[in-house]
Every structure is written in C-alpha cells, then in structure tokens.
C-alpha cells in the first residue's frame, strides 16, 4: 500500500485549505468529540436555515485525516436537508467499514470518496469518523434528529 493511497491529494487539499471552518454564533446543537487514543478533537455545531437546510460550524485539532474529514463533511452537507445529510453520513460510515474494498458513489460522497484508502488502516478509521459521529450527536442535541436505536458506529 502506498502512502498516496491513504493520503490522496484531495485529502491533503482539504487539510491545508479547510472549507467552512469556524464556529457559529447561535447553533441549535453542539457536540465536542475527542478521540481518546490520540487526543484529536472536533467541535461540531448544527443549525437550520429558513428553508430547512442544515448549517454547519466546526473547529478542531488533529491529524490530516480527521481535519480533512471535517472539511469534506462541511462541503457535503452544508445547506442540505437533514434527511439527505443523514444518507450521506451513513454512506460515509459504510465506506469506512468497507476495509478498502468499496466502490463509493461519487454522486453521493463527492470528495469523501478519497477516504476509501483510509478504510484499509484500522487505526485511522476513527480519525475519519470523528467529525461524522460529532455531527450525528450535534443533530440529536439540536433536536434535528432522534436518538438512533443502536450505535451505528
């Protein structure tokens, strides 16, 4: 496996030039998630626009994978209806559990398809999932989503 398969240029670009990074004044829900094995942090905020679109704010510190994942998340779900955002989130979670064998749908996942290589590295899957788990938590706290029946992680 090459380093390039893990760190695709798209990931490095999101890491160096994060999209939409920053916190909101008055979010509906906020979730602060930490990866206790490495100390990576993400502070994820959600709100709803007047037409029902999801609004995202975030800050974080951590490795390229966790921080690029947050930037890609922003790009994919910002302004989208909550139900669409959840479909994207579930597709990303599935991709991360594919052990690198998935053929992800770019129509759904956009730049997130670049994370397919991450799924081959068990120690890094949690890095990629950190913002997405925080998103779910923030949506629940903000009343935009109900508690899931079981832990989908």
């Amino acid at each position: 496996m090459s380093l390039e398969s893990l760190y695709q240029d798209i990931i490095l670009d999101h890491y160096k030039n994060p999209r939409g990074r920053g916190l909101m004044e008055s979010p509906l829900g906020t979730a602060f998630h930490v990866n206790p094995t490495c100390g990576d942090e993400i502070n994820m905020q959600v709100a709803a626009s007047e037409d029902g679109g999801l609004l995202i704010g975030y800050e974080g510190t951590g490795c390229s994978i966790s921080q690029a994942s947050a930037s890609v998340l922003y790009e994919l779900v910002q302004g989208r209806p909550v139900a669409d955002a959840e479909s994207i989130r579930l597709a990303f979670v599935e991709l991360m559990h594919s052990k690198g064998h998935a053929d992800p749908d770019e129509e759904v996942l956009g730049d997130a398809i670049a994370f397919v290589g991450v799924a081959k590295y068990p120690a890094r899957i949690k890095c990629a999932l950190l913002p997405w788990m925080a998103l779910q938590d923030a949506e629940i706290k903000g009343g935009l989503m109900s508690e899931p029946d079981s832990d989908q992680e």
Binding site: M1, S2, L3, L6, Y7, L12, T37, C38, G39, D40, E41, T61, G62, C63, S64, I65, Y121, R124, C127
Partner: protein, 426 residues
C-alpha cells in the same frame, strides 16, 4: 559501540525477522509501550505448559507442586533482579493493577475505618489530607489517585515541570507537607524520558510520614535498579516491557508496608481462614494474589530476567545511553523538529518525544509505518503532560537492546520523508 552485540541479540527475537507494509524490514522503536520477546521466553512458557501445567498454590499432586515451585522460582528471580527478597514481590496482572493495588489500600482502609475495622492510620484519608503526584505521570499513576481523592475527600497535588521536562523541585517543600499522606512519582517518564531523583523525593515523603510509591515501568527494564535504593515503600512495574509476557505485573513493597496494607482483590488463595460472615487473610505476598495465579507468565518473566542478567543491566543502560545521545543529536538537528523533554542525554532514558512543525504526529507515524518503522504517536497516556507542553500529541521513539544507530538513521530519513510528503518547509 558498547558491550551489547545487537546482531546477536536480534537473532534471539523471531518477530524482528518479519517484514511489514509490503516487505519492509521491521524497525521496532516502540519499546516503551511493550518490548518484543526472545525465543527463550517463549520456550519457557511453552515448556511449562507442556510439562508442569497446574494451578499453583493448591492441590497436592506432582504437577501442582511443580507449578508452585516454578511460580515461586520466578518470584525469586524477579526479586534478585531488583535487589529484593522474594517475600517483597507481589505478582499482579500489570503495572496498572500494581498501582491500583497501592491506591486502593488508601480508599479501602478509609472505608473500613468508618465501620470500625482496625486499619493502619497511614492509609486513612480525609478532607485536608493531600496526595502528591507529578505533572509527568502516566495515566496509570494519576487516575487511580484521582479516584482515591474523590472517594476520601483528600486533595490531589502535583509537582510541576520545567520547560525542559524536568521536575520543578524548587517548591517541593510547599507541595509535600504535613498534610501529605502519599507521594507517588514516576522514576523514568514514558513520554519525556526524564529520570527523576526519586530517592530525594521519597526522603521528603518519609520526612512528613507519607507513604512513598514509585512507578518504575520505564526504568527497571532499562537501568540497573536496586529497589531499596529508591527509598520507596512500594514500587510498581510491568513484565512485558522487560522482554517478559503480557499479563504479569509486579509490585515491590517493604515487609512492613505490605503487612500494613489491606488487601485489594479478594477471594481464593489470599485467605488464612474463611467463615460465612468473615475472613482473615494470608501474609504478603499471598494476601495480594487472589485467584489462580499466572504461572506461565511468571515463568516467562523469569526467563526474561535471566536473559537481561546475562546481558548485564549496566551494559543495557550504557547501550541505551549511547543510542539516546545519538538520537537526541540526530533528531534535534532536523529543521522544524522540537524535542519534548530533556534535550541532553543526562538523567534521561531512551524514550524521546518530538513534534514536527506542520505535521500531526499521527501523520508522522503513518509515514514512518509505511517505511517499516514502528513508533508510538498520541498522548502516550500522559495527556496532562502533553497539555503542559502545548501539544495535542507527540511522536515517540523508545529504542531497546535490539536497536542500533542504523535504526535511528532510518528514523531520521523517515522524518525528513514526512516533511517532504506533507510539503512542510524543513
């Protein structure tokens, strides 16, 4: 470079012959997490299971006798290795359990005293009392004491650090005072590499009547350590970081303190008499060894002790000292790299943490891993220490007897490669 023959040692460790990540030779630099095992440790465990396996300290058949003998021989070997008597050595599951055993002596004695059970007053804590640790403790020597304080109302205090990763000892008299009931400090930091003057700190603890505990996980595998010279009442360390198997840890205690401490885990093996409503307990060390003991692991650890004694711990320490001096120089001169911990090879061990400007440690570790170099990345179970130095995590190397200067050169190449890959100015 020293009396250690690295090539010969390497041939004793089967795992060092394997390759990783597309056929790259393994360069294992994560010994502060766990060491690899020489074939004679593996053989010792296997031979025990093949010839003498039985539950030690129960049963009267021949195998039970042999298993008991093997287990107690291992205790004597470990004791000899650290200059102690076998009766002063308690086998535990790991060093974390050893430290919890120490910590629970305080919370258990405090709870027992409330209901009138006679206990040694040194272990009874109340609001106003203090527990002292340092800002460079592994979570295993921090969290159990936080729990003790939460259960008893005692306050936790800690010795702060200098910017060079040494203990700030100037204010020690204001930290260890008449309120202090226990002082628990690390001998050699797993994240900074710092070797602390524990004998001096233990003397201060004893001067105020406090119990002194030392976490020696990173020192006993790497240095000649005579536990009585540390001046501590209790010393905890693990077997798996000194070539032994996982699943066995150690606690040295003075006869007096082991006798005074209430038990930790209770049940079979650790009792003297049992009635339906009460029990009395065996003398130490059995008092602290409830349940069927880990005989095979003890036997493996005994073989590890033999291996290290044959090398000579003074030789091991000299080898590591040379590696440490070279590593500090070689890593320290890479532009953009900052060493977290003492920058000089004085009173410090081979665990060296560093950060690379512009690259998260996870990403540094990934590039190294891709080259076959195994290092640890993260907070190393010393999260508050990372915070002290304003970093979320570090990359850490921790060489041992089977590492040489070539491994360090490969590491340096790997760090430069990470800088190239992530396009940070070096």
């Amino acid at each position: 470079m020293t009396g250690i023959d690295v090539a010969r040692i390497r041939s004793d460790f089967p795992i060092l012959k394997r390759t990783v990540r597309d056929d790259k030779p393994l360069i294992y630099l994560d010994n502060a997490a766990t060491s690899q095992k020489p074939v004679e440790v593996l053989d010792a465990e296997r031979t025990f299971y093949e010839t003498s396996n039985a539950a030690a300290h129960r049963g009267a058949h021949q195998l039970a006798e042999e298993a008991t003998e093997a287990y107690e021989l291992a205790r004597a070997q470990v004791a000899g290795f650290v200059g102690a008597d076998a009766s002063n050595i308690v086998f535990t599951k790991n060093a974390t359990e050893s430290l919890n055993l120490a910590a629970y002596a305080f919370s258990n004695a405090t709870a027992l005293s409330r209901w009138g059970t006679p206990v040694d007053p040194r272990f009874v804590l109340q609001p106003g009392d203090s527990v002292v640790v340092t800002e460079m403790e592994h979570h295993a020597n921090l969290v159990p004491w936080q729990e003790v304080c939460a259960k008893t109302g005692a306050s936790l205090r800690w010795v702060p650090l200098t910017d060079n990763g040494r203990l700030e000892l100037a204010g020690l008299d204001g930290i260890i005072d008449a309120s202090t009931k226990v002082v628990s400090v690390v001998h050699q930091s797993n994240i900074l590499g710092t070797i602390n003057p524990v004998a001096e700190i233990m003397a201060k603890a004893h001067a105020v009547g406090a119990v002194g505990v030392v976490d020696a996980c990173q020192s006993i595998p790497h240095l000649p350590v005579d536990v009585s010279a540390l001046g501590a009442d209790l010393v905890a360390w693990s077997g798996h970081k000194m070539l032994g198997p996982t699943g066995i840890g150690l606690l040295y205690g003075t006869a007096e303190i082991l006798d005074a401490m209430p038990p930790f885990l209770t049940g079979g093996s650790m009792i003297a008499t049992v009635e339906m409503d009460r029990s009395t307990y065996a003398a130490a060390p059995q008092k602290f060894e409830a349940g069927v003991p880990m005989v095979a692991q003890a036997v493996g650890l005994g073989a590890a002790v033999n291996y290290l004694e044959r090398l000579g711990m003074a030789q091991v320490a000299a080898h590591e000292q040379a590696l440490t001096a070279y590593s500090l120089m070689a890593i320290g001169k890479i532009p953009g790299v900052r060493i977290i911990g003492p920058p000089e090879a004085v009173d410090r061990g081979s665990a060296i943490s560093f950060v690379v400007a512009g690259i998260h440690p996870h990403d540094v570790g990934q590039v190294l891993d891709n080259m076959g170099i195994a290092v640890r990345v993260g907070h190393h179970c010393a999260w508050p220490t990372c915070r002290r130095f304003g970093v979320p995590a570090t990359t850490r190397i921790s060489p041992y007897i089977y590492n040489d200067l070539n491994d360090i050169d490969a590491l340096v190449e790997g760090i430069v490669e990470a800088q190239r890959f992530f396009k940070v100015a070096s």
